[in-house]
Symmetry: C2
């Protein structure tokens, strides 16, 4: 008797879902399609020459660090660079607060592994990042969605959720949120950390886009605002404890194919992440860690960030202008101050999953907004556009095709 | 009220253990210690020049494939190369049978995620790879250990385990098993796949060392023997179904820091691995995948393998000779035909965890054997040595120091 595979999977499989994003990654590869769907950075901004140089350099000069097994915490050289890099960006932490992961998706998965039992509740922004929902759902959790308006998470609803659920943690993306592009205001940030502290609930702060700010003023992270609530928790440069796990990544600022992210957490919490990571993949790619470390050490990052910000500002403006001109009468949106995404709400009850089918015929793609919500049926008239990978002309043509699809769909 | 972290972890944390290997990786970094403890390949065998060349080449010529997001299944170029590479090594499979993972530890973790509910049973060789125990335990499973003798897994005990437990799968390392170095005989291999088929239980075949054979004859994998049982399952070059998930890796044949492994499974099973991997880390490092793909495509692997095998043969012989001369009166072992490890059983009831403390004073390190067993207290008088990373003189000196430690411990 051969193996009957379908009968052999764990119960967990019911909780696991395949991501609509994956299908989009596949369909977006046809050259005729103007795809505004991906969460991809622009490949033309990858500093290929510098990365090539550094790859050679680290393999020749540091073959052990770049090719051999290392410690699960991550390459110490990179973690030291991240101490300085974090400080420049307002996060004061020591090397014992920092662990390297294989992309933020892994940070989210490990957080689920460490904090979620079946039936536990995660408080999430509504809408929120699909990949986070996918990561947490694999552990059988439920979600308490808190609406996002143009200043970020709504505070009253957050407090209600904290009161009514024994939430395992709050998951938040304060900068240029995925998918809405919204920036959480300073006032809201302070309220979120105060409420988390009041109810003793951890915050998982996901910040892949924070350094892609091309407009408006820098705002402190939830991590730093929490630290400011409890100055006694910071001893020298290390956070002895605190309520926030901060996650960031090289994916959007350097290259996603490197799969290198990091987290900043109290040392005891970081140690649990490391234990979980040992079982999950032992360590992250050493070559990419060594390259990222040298990239920071040699001071290449400020120029790289300037280049990306300038580029994305032009494209964001082009997309906002095109939307104002072509879709102004039928959509509302919040102008993003950074990141990759523009979030549209249609002023009619069109289902954007249906719209996508029509749009495919017009050779234009986007991400329907519904899947970013944890409640079925909500957000049907929303959609996410990325402005990162196309020049302004193509953006204009993409929005024109989108209008055509909407009009065809509305008939 | 700040977060009380200790009260917030999932129940799963009780099942998760930190690996003794991790502590060893840390302690083995002192230059005075002759460490025979790691499972590390020899860094001097990394083809650094070729890897540097290829890193430059792929970033310049294929920036999207090497630095951008890609599909979760893995870079198609690498998967195509692995179809040919697998065929050369006796595994006939199509591209739809193959998925790339971030090291075999991730393959094991994903297998746990897909197949293990709390309380489920995994049949394992006894002793077996620590990392596998760690990966599976995180899902709350139990183990049914089947003894290994000098021909591999004992068949009667395997059948008893299959009868008495509703095992989720059999985990086996047929080539130069970690930790024992034992090669499963052809007869045993056939019996294992027949029994798995009889009871309808999947096999997870872990083969990181198969290509490091420096002595004896090539033996077919469990994957191929299973395919031979059911020729109707192979359509053209693809395995439509089958009972075996085969896992292998570039860690021991190229460089572990690249964190690139692969699995071969029926397409429906592979798809579930991909779904699980999406939530776990989206995709493996693209740069390393592109480098590995070019390394295979340019035909560099045969020379690389010849070099490694020659090297490890010399070292294995040196270690066996030294053990025969210095420890011959107090240990027994099976001479390995490949891989990295020599497994010693002391002919006395010395506890090798105690021995390690004495050995540390003598500046020599090894891995105590006990943790490789799933039953506490078993295998106390066993230990694992790696011959991979030292030249013959240092191996001799290491064994001499080990003898000194044993004598001191026995007093």
């Amino acid at each position: 008797m051969s193996v009957d595979w379908t009968s052999r999977y764990s119960r967990r499989l019911e909780w696991m879902t395949t991501s609509i994003i994956r299908e989009i990654l596949k369909s977006a590869q046809s050259p005729d399609v103007i795809s505004m769907s991906g969460g991809w950075p622009d490949a033309s901004l990858f500093p290929v020459d510098k990365l090539g140089e550094l790859a050679n350099y680290v393999m020749e000069e540091q073959p052990a660090a770049s090719l051999q097994y290392g410690v699960t915490d991550g390459y110490i050289g990179l973690r030291q660079q991240l101490v300085d890099f974090s400080r420049e960006n307002g996060i004061h932490a020591g090397v014992n607060n920092i662990a390297i992961t294989s992309g933020t998706q892994q940070t989210l998965d490990l957080a689920g592994r460490l904090f979620l039992d079946e039936g536990d509740v995660v408080i999430v922004e509504s809408p929120t990042f699909l990949g986070a929902l996918q990561a947490f759902k694999a552990y059988g959790c439920k979600f308490a969605p808190v609406p996002v308006d143009d200043e970020g998470m709504c505070i009253d609803e957050l407090e209600t959720a904290l009161k009514e659920t024994k939430a395992s943690f709050i998951y938040a993306i304060p900068n240029f949120q995925n998918p809405t592009g919204v920036t959480m205001s300073l006032e809201r940030r302070k309220k979120v950390v105060e409420l988390a502290d009041k109810y003793g609930v951890p915050i998982l702060e996901d910040d892949p886009y924070g350094l892609l700010r091309f407009d408006g003023e820098f705002l402190p992270s939830l991590f730093e605002l929490d630290a400011a609530l409890h100055p006694e928790n910071a001893v020298a440069s290390e956070h002895v404890t605190g309520n926030v796990i901060y996650a960031s990544s090289f994916s959007k600022i350097l290259a996603p194919g490197l799969r290198i992210s990091w987290l900043v957490a109290p040392p005891s919490v970081k140690e649990q992440f490391i234990m979980a990571k040992q079982g999950a993949d032992v360590q992250s790619n050493a070559l990419a860690q060594a390259i990222a470390s040298e990239f920071l050490r040699l001071g290449y990052m400020p120029d790289q960030l300037d280049r990306i910000r300038e580029h994305y500002l032009v494209r964001c403006n082009a997309m906002c202008d095109a939307v104002d001109e072509i879709l102004g009468d039928i959509v509302t949106y919040v102008r993003p101050e950074g990141g990759l995404f523009l979030w549209l709400e249609l002023n009619c009850c069109l289902d954007t999953i249906e719209l996508l089918k029509i749009a495919a015929k017009e050779n234009v793609a986007f991400v329907p907004g519904g899947p970013f919500y944890t409640v079925p049926g909500v957000g049907k008239n929303t959609l996410r556009l990325s402005f990162a990978t196309m020049d302004p002309d193509m953006i204009y043509e993409g929005i024109r095709r989108l209008r055509k699809a909407i009009d065809a769909c509305s008939e």
